[in-house]
């Protein structure tokens, strides 16, 4: 490979950091179903193993084969993981979108494309590299069936040479991907090597983008939120799961199924759990409600359309006080919406899911450790509070690859809540299912199969008094609602508290939750560099805790940042803290993409400079 002859002046990212060594993004534009995911994962994993902070985001269509898909790898020596608006290095492998893809490359960027396209290199502010993709793929000797898959390896090889990725790390990443199957790895590595050599011999590097080994990922892991959530569920002692397939939630149950087979099978071959693929989401939540009622740790996972179908059962479980866990991996609605794009659009719906005065418990993980923790904490909360617990993750958290500190083993023993044993029942000669004995609004329950003649009670969605008897009496109905309200107030004191980063002298408070958190460190630095000091509160659960109220009271101006159109969390906070409603400012966007650090920072800056 020749030396750089006409290197362009160093460019800077939106935050003023020079782009180039270990600070830029790669975007691979491919066709869905062409197998590019293997290539993209290999690149991301190799970079990560080189010690460089790396995140991967897949922007994919709702389609099995043929529609365009983009994979963005962010490389950040500073360790930022949020989405950036620009990607400097374009791998253009989809002719259909190439013109638009190329037009989006920032000045000073790079375009790698197949020689076979005979592209007219019309922009003079970017560097073009042509790669004989088809020729390299054919030379590998791959079967006709495998040809389009291994063709993707050509751009992996190109990046090895052009960016300086360690080829041994690519090999290791492919070994990981193919589960150690050397033959499959060799077929792919053949193309990687050929492409790398081709670039060395035929391409003169003329751009500033390079990677260099660092030591910033030691001890960290790469994982997606659905795998973390499935694993957390497994360690949470789930004993029953029912589900119906829907993107982007399916991979959570897939991960759960795989981990359970690995971790939850007894020596005699029996399973300490059951997983049922239901006929629809109504049946899925029906099954977990029956299982939760009968004493199992029961969960389901779905996305917005499934939540809609689950509404009636969610209300029943709330009112009959049955512990169940429901994951909602949020995607873009309304309706089928953009099924493979992210949004935080289910917050309002889920918090109030059910008819009548229903208020649900909602957990809001922001990162991989929290996706894992929600897997087990959700069960403890559901059984303690005897109520459904919703975990609101989203497509970005759930399906994209995140760099994370290792997931942490549960730090508290399982809390199975207030369940009476046969001995307790025989000693007390009975119990009142919906009586508030302890002042926390939570009664004692029993499960079927408890061998005491005092164990049984009757569960019904219709009016019931504290003895679990049918009633239509006004006073008994109200007393029950009052108790449910007390329970909700008690829930405020035990749900995860917000994470607050208070900055001395700040007059601006930023509030965010879920996947939006990833862009906050960078956005806040951008603001701080421009003289806007910000404190930050990340909400981790609903109902709101006292800490949330205090934070809102402390700051004159509050920006609620979220990935939906209506500013749904802001609306909830306005209801919760009505006296500050006017000062809670909506910073929301809903275009199917994770909020970028630039957009958040500039949106707040604009308001602040008014």
């Amino acid at each position: 490979m020749g030396t750089s002859t006409q290197a362009r002046p160093t460019a800077h990212d939106a935050f003023g950091s020079p782009v180039g060594v270990n600070n830029f993004s790669i975007i691979a534009a491919t066709v869905n179903g062409s197998g590019s995911q293997t290539a993209n994962n290999a690149i991301a994993r190799a970079l990560f193993k080189m010690g460089i902070p790396t995140t991967g985001k897949n922007l994919f269509p709702s389609n099995i084969q043929g529609l365009p898909t983009w994979y963005i790898i962010r490389i950040s020596r500073e360790g930022y993981i949020g989405r950036r608006e620009n990607a400097e290095v374009l791998i253009a492998m989809n002719r259909a979108t190439a013109d638009e893809d190329i037009s989006k490359v920032p000045s000073g960027g790079v375009v790698i494309y197949p020689t076979e396209w005979k592209l007219s290199e019309s922009r003079d502010d970017v560097t073009y590299y042509a790669l004989p993709v088809q020729q390299l793929a054919k030379a590998s000797g791959a079967s006709a069936k495998m040809l389009s898959y291994v063709a993707n390896m050509a751009y992996v090889g190109a990046l090895v040479t052009l960016l300086g990725i360690d080829i041994n790390e690519i090999d290791a990443a492919l070994m990981h991907h193919f589960g150690g199957k050397r033959k499959a790895v060799d077929l792919n590595m053949g193309v990687v090597k050929a492409a790398a050599e081709y670039c060395q011999q035929n391409i003169t590097k003329r751009d500033p983008f390079k990677v260099e080994r660092m030591n910033a990922t030691a001890g960290k892991v790469l994982i997606d939120g659905n795998s973390a959530g499935g694993l957390g569920t497994c360690f949470g002692g789930f004993t029953f799961a029912a589900w119906y397939p829907i993107t982007p939630s399916t991979s959570l149950v897939d991960a759960l199924t795989d981990y359970a087979k690995e971790l939850r099978v007894e020596p005699d071959g029996t399973h300490t759990y059951a997983i049922v693929q239901a006929e629809d989401e109504i049946a899925a939540i029906g099954m977990i409600t029956g299982a939760g009622w009968a004493g199992a740790r029961a969960m389901t996972s779905t996305s917005g359309p499934g939540i809609s179908l689950m509404t009636e059962y969610a209300g029943l479980a709330y009112f009959t006080e049955i512990p169940v866990v429901i994951w909602d991996i949020m995607r873009m609605g309304p309706s089928t919406g953009l099924p493979t794009r992210v949004s935080q659009g289910d917050v309002l719906m889920v918090y109030f899911l059910g008819h009548g005065d229903t208020k649900q418990i909602v957990l809001l993980p922001s990162n991989m450790q929290e996706c894992f923790a929600c897997g087990w904490q959700s069960f403890d909360l559901a059984e303690r509070l005897q109520t459904p617990v919703f975990v609101l993750s989203d497509l970005d958290l759930g399906m994209n690859t995140w760099m994370s500190d290792p997931l942490e083993y549960p730090d508290t023993p399982m809390d199975r809540g207030k369940v009476l044993s046969a001995a307790q029942l025989d000693a007390a000669k009975g119990f009142n299912r919906y009586e508030d004995v302890d002042g926390d609004g939570i009664g004692y329950r029993t499960v079927p199969g408890t061998e005491s003649k005092y164990a049984a009670y009757f569960t019904r969605g219709s009016g019931h008094n504290k003895y679990a008897q049918y009633t239509e009496r006004a006073d008994e109905w109200e007393a029950n609602l009052d108790r449910l309200h007390r329970k909700h107030e008690y829930a405020r004191t035990i749900v995860p508290k917000p994470v607050i980063d208070e900055v001395a002298g700040a007059t601006v408070g930023i509030i965010a939750y879920g996947s939006t958190d990833q862009s906050m460190p960078e956005a806040r630095k951008f603001l701080a560099d421009r003289g806007v000091k910000t404190s930050y509160m990340r909400i981790r659960a609903l109902p709101t805790t006292a800490e949330i109220h205090d934070f809102i009271q402390r700051y004159p101006r509050l920006y609620v940042v979220e990935n939906n159109y209506d500013g749904q969390m802001r609306k909830i906070l306005q209801m919760e803290v009505p006296e500050r409603a006017k000062d809670l400012v909506q910073i929301s966007k809903c275009d199917g993409l994770p909020l970028s650090s630039e957009w958040i920072a500039t949106s707040i800056l604009k308001k602040e400079s008014k």
Binding site: V221, L231, C234, F235, G237, T239, F240, A242, Y259, L263, R264, E266, D268, T270, H271, T272, Y273, A274, V276, A278, E279, D280, I282, A283, G286, M287, I288, T289, G290, A291, G292, W293, A294, A296, A298, E312, Y313, T320, L407, Y409, P410, P413, M414, T446, V447, P448, G449, T450, E451, K453, A455, A456, Y457, F458, T459, R460, G461, S462, Q469, Y470
Partner: protein, 344 residues
């Protein structure tokens, strides 16, 4: 001289028939559903059912209210309209030692709940599922249900211009292994079917015509007491032999046969030469089809087959119910997590 109290009769568990009672019914006087509740109480007493291992589950409707009116010492769950099968599925998987007794209505099971009904049967969820079939929606005051007869007229609902869905037919098509039809006005047959159904391995469907005295008990209604009494045609004669009972050979070869149930009890089929053989699926299909065409009211055991394993047998469940597994069994170790982290 003190008067000798008559001894209180108890069953093998030491429980009286009264111990199997529920709260006072709030249904209309004479409602067929109440008489079915009485049959359940008797059968549970006779079979020495342990109430602590029985669950009563239902959907929504007059029929679905009845689990509150029998066996107080069992847990009951009066759930959502049409969605009881899924709830029952979760419950029996959570605790495989439970016997599930489901009560549904024709609206609950054949309209809003037809999907869950079919999938329950397809999964072979171990439970007895009773459809208390009155041809109307009782609780919402007399609309036609999907089991109402073609051209039937009701004062409030008018004329029904659509053909009925047949509960037994639906069950048979979905591969149900125990299908019986009966009539609330035939207590002996209801009890015999219930006993056998409770011994079935998987889902047992009992379609019991249960007159709604308020909205659909006119003499010309096929779901009325009068019609049932006048037209019931019993197509199979059978008896139930509990596991502990001795089987005595008292039949003519060729006319009687025993089906061994999963729990060791027997269903003794009699007079096979004269009538329907419930072990024959094609015959069952034919009998139902003919009855449908001729609008005949056939009752009895329609189909029995103990071969298909229940859902709880397929799921590789441990002996201890999932609900009662201790944390040591359900939370993998710290080392297990460390190993997973290493592999990432």
């Amino acid at each position: 001289m003190a008067v000798q109290e008559p001894p209180i009769k108890v069953n093998r568990l030491g429980l009286t028939r009264d111990d199997y009672k529920g709260r006072a019914s709030t249904l209309c006087k004479g409602c067929g559903h109440d008489s079915i509740s009485q049959r359940i109480i008797s059968v549970a007493y006779d079979l020495n059912l342990d109430p602590t291992h029985l669950i009563k589950v239902s959907g929504i409707g007059c029929s679905s209210k009845t689990p509150a009116y029998f066996i107080n010492q069992s847990h009951g769950f009066n759930g959502l309209h049409g969605r009881m099968p899924s709830m029952a599925t979760g419950a029996v998987l959570a605790n495989r030692t439970l016997t599930a007794l489901g009560v549904s209505g024709d609206g609950d099971a054949m309209s809003i709940g037809l999907g869950q009904f079919i999938h329950m049967v397809r999964r072979n969820v171990p439970m007895v599922f009773i459809v208390e079939n009155n041809g109307v929606y009782g609780l919402t005051k007399g609309q036609f249900s999907a089991t109402a007869d073609l051209d039937q007229e009701l004062k409030y609902a008018g004329r029904n211009e659509l053909p009925p869905i047949d509960v037994c037919h639906e069950a048979l098509v979905a591969d149900c292994g125990f299908i019986g039809r009966s009539f609330a006005g035939d207590p002996r047959q209801v009890e015999a079917l219930l006993k056998a159904a409770l011994s079935h391995r998987g889902t047992a469907i009992l379609d019991i015509i249960s007159p709604c005295v308020t909205f659909n008990d006119h003499d010309d209604s096929t779901k009325s007491y009068a019609y049932g009494k006048a037209h019931e045609q019993i197509i199979s004669d059978f008896g139930f032999v509990a596991p502990q009972e001795e089987i005595t050979v008292d039949y003519d070869p060729g006319t009687t046969a025993d089906v061994t149930m999963h729990d060791g009890s027997h269903v003794r089929l009699r007079k096979l030469d004269e009538k329907h053989d419930p072990r024959n699926r094609d015959a069952a299909m034919r009998v139902l089809e003919e009855a449908h065409i001729k609008q005949e009211f056939i009752t009895g055991l329609i189909y029995i087959n103990e071969e298909r394993p229940a859902l709880t047998e397929i799921e590789r469940l441990p002996a201890t119910p999932l609900a009662f597994l201790p944390p040591e069994k359900t939370r993998p170790s710290r080392e297990a997590l460390a190993k997973v982290m290493q592999e990432l």
